[in-house]
């Protein structure tokens, strides 16, 4: 708690101070979409910052933000140079800042999926088919521009039900992040929810949610998701070959403690083209012009 609050302030200060420091000694500022609660984010990214600092020889600051678009705009405005984006926010960022490149993704991210979870009172159980029995119940997405919490679930709902989510469900909400989605379904505030599978599995493993209360009812088909994306002018700022060095550092991450915080088994190379399917879906759902 104490650590986390202080880290936020330090982070905010870093966000503002970065350019001034950059003159003297290059600082790599990086951010991430706030897809889970703040405790989890701090745990995950303070470890990453320390690791990268050791590998790259520049100081590395993690800059926490409170919303998905804030991560994208901080990236575009050069307040951060590296970011851990979701599938859709990564696409948004690379459109907003031409020249920026996806360099790495988690092993799980090339075949990512969302879970549909349901409160036990619904009586729904896990099945291979889309849970048509959810019709007329309340439903929550995650953040409005989350890939696994909004984009792909909405795509699957429309594909399977031929209806808009607002028509199929009695009520549609946006919880803001995956942790909150699981909590809302576990408390019964929403009967159904769509959530990032790694977040859910992680919460089950750490005992934060009872899988009998908020139970898994359906897995979506897979799609590409999270990625590390870096600005195109990183080499200019940090020296020739920096992007390659950064990529190697991320791919070389093998400390189980860091990987578990994401949680990912390992990181593998990624390219912008890997996310073309996400861009297509986003355009279909009119989330991207």
């Amino acid at each position: 708690m104490t650590l986390q609050r202080r880290e936020f302030l330090v982070g905010t200060a870093a966000l503002l101070a970065t350019p001034a420091i950059a003159q003297a000694r290059p600082t790599l500022a990086f951010s991430a979409i706030p897809d889970e609660d703040a405790t989890k984010l701090m745990e995950r990214f303070t470890k990453v910052a320390k690791y990268l600092e050791g590998q790259l020889g520049v100081s590395v600051q993690f800059v926490p933000v409170k919303s998905y678009p804030a991560a994208v705009t901080a990236f575009r405005n050069n307040q951060v140079q590296l970011a851990w984006f979701g599938g859709l926010s990564g696409v948004q960022a690379r459109i907003a800042l031409p020249g920026s490149v996806a360099i790495a993704q988690g092993d799980e991210d090339k075949e990512f999926m969302s879970y549909f979870i349901a409160h036990q009172s619904t009586g729904l159980t896990e099945s291979k088919d889309f849970p048509m029995g959810a019709k007329g119940r309340s439903f929550t997405f995650g953040a409005k521009t989350s890939t696994s919490g909004r984009l792909m679930p909405e795509f699957e709902i429309r594909r399977n039900t031929k209806m808009a989510p607002e028509a199929f469900f009695s009520r549609v909400g946006f919880s803001g992040d995956h942790t909150k989605t699981v909590e809302l379904v576990a408390s019964g505030a929403f009967e159904i929810g769509a959530v990032n599978f790694t977040s859910y599995d992680d919460m089950v493993k750490s005992g934060k949610v009872d899988p009998k209360v908020a139970r898994l009812v359906w897995r979506t088909p897979t799609y590409p998701d999270y990625n590390f994306t870096v600005r195109g002018d990183a080499d200019q700022r940090f020296g020739a070959g920096f992007t390659e060095k950064l990529k190697a550092a991320i791919l070389g991450m093998n400390d189980p403690a860091i990987l578990a915080a994401f949680p990912r088994k390992k990181f593998i190379p990624a390219t912008n083209a890997d996310y073309a399917p996400i861009e297509d879906v986003a355009k279909q759902l009119n989330l991207l012009d």
Binding site: L16, P19, Y68, T73, N77, A189
Partner: protein
Amino acid sequence: MRLPSSMPAEQALGQRRIGRWQVVGLACLLAALLLPFADLAISTPSPRAVFAALGRGFLEPDFRAVSQLGQALVLTVAIAFAGVAIGALVGLVLALFWSSALIRTVSLCLRGVHELIWALFIMTITGPSAPTAVLALALAYSGIFAKVFAEILEEADPRPRLALPGEGLSLSGLIYAKLVPSLPAFWTYFAYRIECGIRSSAVLGFVGLPTLGFELDTLFKQGQYGGAAAVLILTYLLVITLPLWLRRPALPLYVLAAIAYVWALPRLETSGLGLWTLISRDIVPAPLRNGAWADPAGWEAFANWLWRLISQQMVPGIVATLILGLFAILLTGLIAILAFPLIVRALTGLGGSVFGHVVLVILRSTPEYMLVFIGVQALGPSMLPAILALALHNGAIIAHLIGRQASQLVPTLRIDRPHGVNLYAYELVPRLSGAFFAYLLYRGEIILRESMILGILGIATLGFFIDSAIAELRLDRAVILIIGMILTTAIVDQASRRIRRMIGAQAVSATACR
């Protein structure tokens, strides 16, 4: 000669005047008709559990969090002082040129957009920093200050200016003969606005700026109700102790210290690039980008785009705003009329009135956005928590104002005045109904504006669609929706003025924030 012909007109005017209670009846009828369209569901299964947890939090507030809350507390106050002061200064300059239609339009746009929306918008360029909050507050408040300062200038004695050589038409004449004599009134209004500014500043935290609202949001989402209660208690203390430390002579000192403090914080990279991208690309409607404006097909696509945006988002958002506002206003009136006796000693006795004061102070001091936030946590994102929270907050404000008048009124009544319920029903309510309606109308305008904003919390008013557009980084859509927000504000102002004239209620200005 002229008199007889004017008589019928006078009579017609008299007939057109609608009674206050008829307006109330119409509003209730409308509300009953709209009831099926209002989303009043409780979507959480155990709202009592959340309230109980929060209650336990209040019994054992976690002030360990306070050491970290210190920074948020200081920033909340500093941002309020800096933002309100800059807003006042800009408002002053705008007020000096109030005769220009352009200036009047600019200031309508400035105050028609809530500071939360300004903050969401500015953050896309500058990131979530203290200067962003100052700027958002300054923009919204400059429009409000411009309007009120211009009204004060208008009411200033015109004679000193006319007595000057050349009738004092120069700017110097305006400053010496109009502005300077109005300074005391400006000062009073400014000091009062500071209080509103502190509440606004705290609420800005909910969208990610580093003030108290940020802490409350985070603590609530982590289920740390003890810490959340500590934040709420701090907010009360801040607002309640204001009269003690907000001394006028010290105000300039506070303002300077605040600006210096925010200035001394590590500063923002103000790359003109972000702003230029915003103007040249982001707010240009998507179908017209990349040179498509030169092509008739681009304009056709734009027309379709605009129509979809208006029919699918703006209109439903405005309708939901109006429905929510109507219910909240009616409930506000009900709460106010039932609650004001709480602080009238002649009705509730000494103990009762002290208790009443405490309840009303708590409800008045909690920013309505925070109340709605708590309501949404407990009841789920429907119109219900929004209506309840808006009505409790505004009802408490009106009950406080009316109750104070009632307390002054009681000793002036005849000696053999009735007591208890009869005093309430036969003396106080009829005598105070004029003031009651004036306050209710005035707060009504504020309720409608707040209703638009509450969309950010997930209720389907206009703010929801603006928040979504900004989340999708579609600032072009956000701009169109914000224009809808400004128009709604302007129309609500007009309608309120009409109703006020129709039922003969006097105007109330500066009784509360916004």
